[in-house]
């Protein structure tokens, strides 16, 4: 009995950590979707690339947290470059071309990672080795830190959207891009910036997760399905929706895996997705706005 209670509690907290990371990945995805009107299929691979960049930077810099920052910055720049060079010319040709483009990018990134880094995953040591006393076991403090860092980043994004000048431009553009341009908002530059921010967030999430699950070339696939679900369940474009849905899906998969195999646990979140699509298609907190 005590064993089950402990397992339940541990999975509950694990679900929180995983859920916050899902929410973070989903918020970058939903930002790009809301502003550029692009479903970025390569978002998971940017998460994966971020993890590899973080792993390499950690070896180089000998400091995990510096590596998190480095991966965030490098992915930000990479994202801005991708938007400028590849997505911008294709955007004007309707919604299908960018979709195919990002799907192609995701395959290229995956294969490239496989070729460069090989099929065997990279181990990333826990940056915080402290174990918190928990029943008769220890619980890694790092998981709690990840949860807090992810939450802090989402709140930071929210404050950026609500309080900053570019945040205001972004919210206006999400609502009416033509009218935003007619007010002088530099929409092309905004697209580049937002794609960069989305990529940077994905990259940071990848590094944060790497000590828990390792770094491997298909890690993007594993997280992107769950974060798609989070985006839809939470409501496209809603950051609070991403947090709520992230925690919900995180808990569902985490607690579900106590009784089911992980893959079956993912079926639970797909069920949740179907329920939301059937009864509340705009998502739990869905409105077409950002930071609302």
């Amino acid at each position: 009995m005590e064993r089950l209670a402990a397992d339940l509690l541990i999975q509950l907290i694990n679900g929180f950590t995983y859920g916050m990371i899902l929410a973070l990945v989903a918020s970058g995805f939903t930002l790009v979707l809301g502003v550029l009107n692009i479903v970025n299929f390569a978002h998971g691979e940017l998460y994966m690339l971020g993890a590899y960049v973080g792993w390499a930077s950690a070896l180089l810099l000998q400091n995990f947290w510096l590596a998190v920052g480095a991966a965030g910055l490098i992915l930000l720049v990479l994202g801005m470059g991708l938007e400028r060079v590849l997505i911008r010319p294709v955007r004007r040709r309707g919604p299908l071309d960018p979709l195919l483009l990002t799907f192609g990018l995701s395959l290229i990134f995956q294969q490239a990672a496989l070729i460069v880094f090989g099929p065997i995953g990279k181990h990333v040591p826990m940056p915080i080795e402290v174990q918190l006393p928990f029943f008769r076991f220890g619980y890694p403090a790092y998981r709690l830190v990840v949860m807090l860092v992810a939450l802090g980043l989402i709140l930071g994004l929210w404050v950026f959207l609500r309080r900053s000048r570019y945040g205001m431009f972004i919210r206006a553009t999400v609502q009416d891009r033509e009218m935003a341009a007619a007010m002088g908002v530099p929409v092309p530059r905004l697209y580049m910036l937002v794609f960069g921010i989305g990529s940077g967030i994905a990259g940071v999430s990848g590094v944060l997760m790497s000590p828990l699950f390792g770094v491997y070339h298909t890690m993007g696939l594993d997280i992107i399905i769950s974060s798609f679900i989070v985006v839809v369940v939470g409501g496209m474009g809603s950051l609070p929706g991403s947090i709520v849905a992230g925690l919900l899906i995180g808990e569902l998969e985490s607690l579900g895996s106590l009784f089911l195999k992980p893959i079956q646990a993912q079926i639970l979140s797909l069920l949740m997705l179907l329920m939301v699509l059937a009864f509340r298609p705009q998502g739990l907190l869905g409105r077409r706005s950002l930071g609302g």
């Binding site: 000048r165 919210r171 935003a180 007619a182 007010m183 929409v187 409105r287």
Partner: protein, 237 residues
């Protein structure tokens, strides 16, 4: 100041503007009249760079607007008040007013001065400045749409159907504000308006449009006194 010469524009394959030439001077109100679907709103959109396929010469106070993106045209001093207002409903009234000034990088004292001026024209916006734009009434949204375009001090304002669906009292208020804008700020206004009597009363000059082209140009007072022309191009007397 704003000079449009031989403007052509396309929606897909249909040739909607077939050589429109319009001139608006500083401090002048100019009305574009014509039946529904002759290309009045399209003309404003084309000037604003909102139609991708266009050709012709567009100049504003010495700047060439042809080939510029919409946001660049806005920054050079063309304000746009679209049909249906299109205010940012999720942004507060204050944010709606500030966005054009933030784009130009104005500092807060300069913004505050411009806001005071906007509130002097439309006092009701001051009371509602913390509210989301979407909570305003239709008339207030129209005031906001005009104030939003005016705040960053444009040289020319393109206003599309400002009185549509508004109560007479509100229309009177808007008329006063638009008149004062041209007089006090020297803004040139290109107006598209269904209520031709109101429009001609406010304007110095008018253009009559048909099938995507300008057919007649003249002083507003003269047009008002020529029912034959109005009947021919507007179907009214």
């Amino acid at each position: 100041m704003l000079e449009v010469v031989d403007l052509h524009a396309f929606y897909g394959k249909s040739h909607v503007l077939q050589g429109v030439s319009i001139r608006v001077e500083a401090g002048e109100i100019v009305t574009l009249l014509g039946r529904n679907g002759v290309g009045k709103s399209t003309t404003l959109k084309a000037i604003m760079g909102l139609l991708s396929a266009r050709s012709g010469s567009l100049r504003l106070a010495g700047h060439d607007l042809a080939g510029l993106a919409t946001h660049e045209i806005a920054r050079l001093g063309v304000g746009y008040v679209p049909e249906d207002r299109r205010i940012f409903t999720d942004l507060t009234v204050l944010e709606n007013l500030r966005i054009g000034m933030e784009v130009l990088g104005w500092d807060s004292p300069r913004q505050a001065a411009a806001l005071d001026e906007a509130y002097a024209y439309f006092p009701r916006l001051a009371e509602r400045r913390r509210q989301a734009g979407g909570t305003l009434s239709g008339g207030e949204q129209q005031m906001l749409a005009i104030a939003r375009a005016v705040a960053p001090c444009p040289r020319v304002l393109l206003i599309d159907e400002p009185t549509e669906g508004l109560a007479p009292a509100v229309v009177g208020e808007l008329e006063q504000a638009i008149r004062r804008l041209t007089a006090a700020e020297g803004i040139g206004i290109l107006l598209v308006e269904q209520n031709f009597r109101l429009a001609l009363r406010m304007s110095q000059r008018a253009y009559l449009m048909e099938k995507g082209a300008i057919r007649h140009e003249g002083p507003a007072a003269e047009l008002l006194a020529t029912p034959g022309l109005l009947r021919q191009y507007l179907g009214v007397a």
